[in-house]
């Protein structure tokens, strides 16, 4: 009889631990997604952390390590933006659903590709199985800021129809490069 009670307690402990894990993640995600710090605030934090830390070794990551991690991520991002021509101006996301192996997030992005500005909204569904993570885009909404001509309208509407985010980016890249090249050529001849 006692063994059964033990089992009941142990089951409840496991459930509670899982629930706590999910609640913690939900809380942290929400914190992350609803906060924003400007570049100045980031710089101020780097400086104040270095001052605070003088001689301390709390088992926390040292400010120089933190700074290095930050620096490396910024370098990678800046490289990608320069290389692809795609500059992200702002990005916000909201975790809509998060269960055991399924996460749904709403993303809002404003960016430009060379001189073409656009805004994106979409939902990203990620499902984790044993070996991989699958990603599916739904509810894709694309708005081109620079006014649409017929070429742009074509690939924007067909991409939006099927949630074809990847095709949108690939078509946009090549279109934007062509557009930029044409613009430079015109300027050259002015």
């Amino acid at each position: 009889m006692d063994k059964n009670i033990c089992q009941v307690y142990e089951d409840e402990i496991q459930l509670l631990e899982e629930e706590i894990k999910l609640l913690t993640e939900k809380y942290e995600d929400s914190q992350q997604e609803s906060t924003f710090f400007s570049d100045e605030e980031i710089l101020m934090s780097i400086n104040s952390l270095q001052k605070e830390f003088q001689g301390e070794s709390k088992g926390n990551e040292s400010p120089s390590d933190l700074k290095a991690r930050l620096g490396s991520l910024e370098t990678d991002l800046s490289f990608l933006m320069k290389f692809t021509g795609i500059q992200f101006r702002s990005h916000s996301k909201q975790t809509v659903e998060k269960t055991g192996n399924r996460t749904v997030q709403k993303h809002r992005l404003s960016a430009n590709c060379h001189s073409l500005s656009f805004q994106l909204e979409f939902q990203l569904l990620e499902m984790r199985n044993k070996e991989s993570v699958s990603a599916v885009i739904t509810d894709l909404n694309i708005v081109m800021a620079s006014g649409e001509n017929s070429d742009m309208r074509k690939f924007v509407s067909s991409a939006g129809e099927h949630g074809n985010l990847l095709t949108f980016f690939r078509s946009l890249s090549s279109y934007a490069e062509w557009y930029e090249h044409r613009r430079c050529t015109f300027l050259h001849f002015k």
């Binding site: 710090f37 992200f88 074809n164």
Partner: protein, 276 residues
Amino acid sequence: GVFAHLELLEERAYEAAVKQEEMEQQEEKLARLKTRVQELRLQRDELRAKVDLQQKGQLGKEGAVSNPAQPSARAVLEWKIKSLKAMLQIFYLTGISGKLSKRGVCFCISTAYEGTYLDSFHLDLLTKPEVQIYRHSVPIFIPLQQIAKKYLQTDIRRFLSVLSDHLNAYVGRRYQADQLQEHFSGQIEGTLQRNSLCNLLVFNYNVSSESKTFPFNVRLLYGDPCCSLPTEVVISCTPDAPAPLAEMAAAHSDLFRRVALHKAFRSFGSAGERVD
């Protein structure tokens, strides 16, 4: 006599002591578990309350211990790091992402079919003394060396773009064949034959006319490696097939050239065209 009796008493006392100890251990364990459950319940309830408050947008003024209204410098930097990581993940969705390495760049080409992201392929490039491919996960039937020879030295962007075209087309063709096998296996007769590049598909499917079923044999050739629609479609039916079937074969042949394979089969079901 007496000794035997004593021994028996000793044994019984020993057994009783063991039982007593077991019982005490069991009680202790129960008590521990009970306490743990109560601790966890408390923790869970506190978290629930925190999350509820957060949902209502009131947090920050409560001064909860782990997140004071004035976040620490460390917390601010951790926020920035998470935020940058999220943005780098978005690059994955654009098709080209990567990171700088000591001797060059590691690129990651992602592929997708419509809204579903599929395989991603990695290329480790060295940039000195000249651009070269150090390592990659591109399958052997993609003409990587050919594409590299043409573009790698002069225009890396173009190189990646052309490679991406090949990879996306390959993955797209494979996806269509997989979808066909997964969702329309009832209509396929026998096995679907395909090569590694998935640019040659041969299979049989059943079509019915006047309540009789006839097999169609289809050969799809995808002549353009950067395209996921076939350039050549050959549909043949048995010689004893009635005339309207020849028309159907021609219609299907045209359809397969214009529409993705699994979507074509989906349209068979809904259009009332009997394919079973």
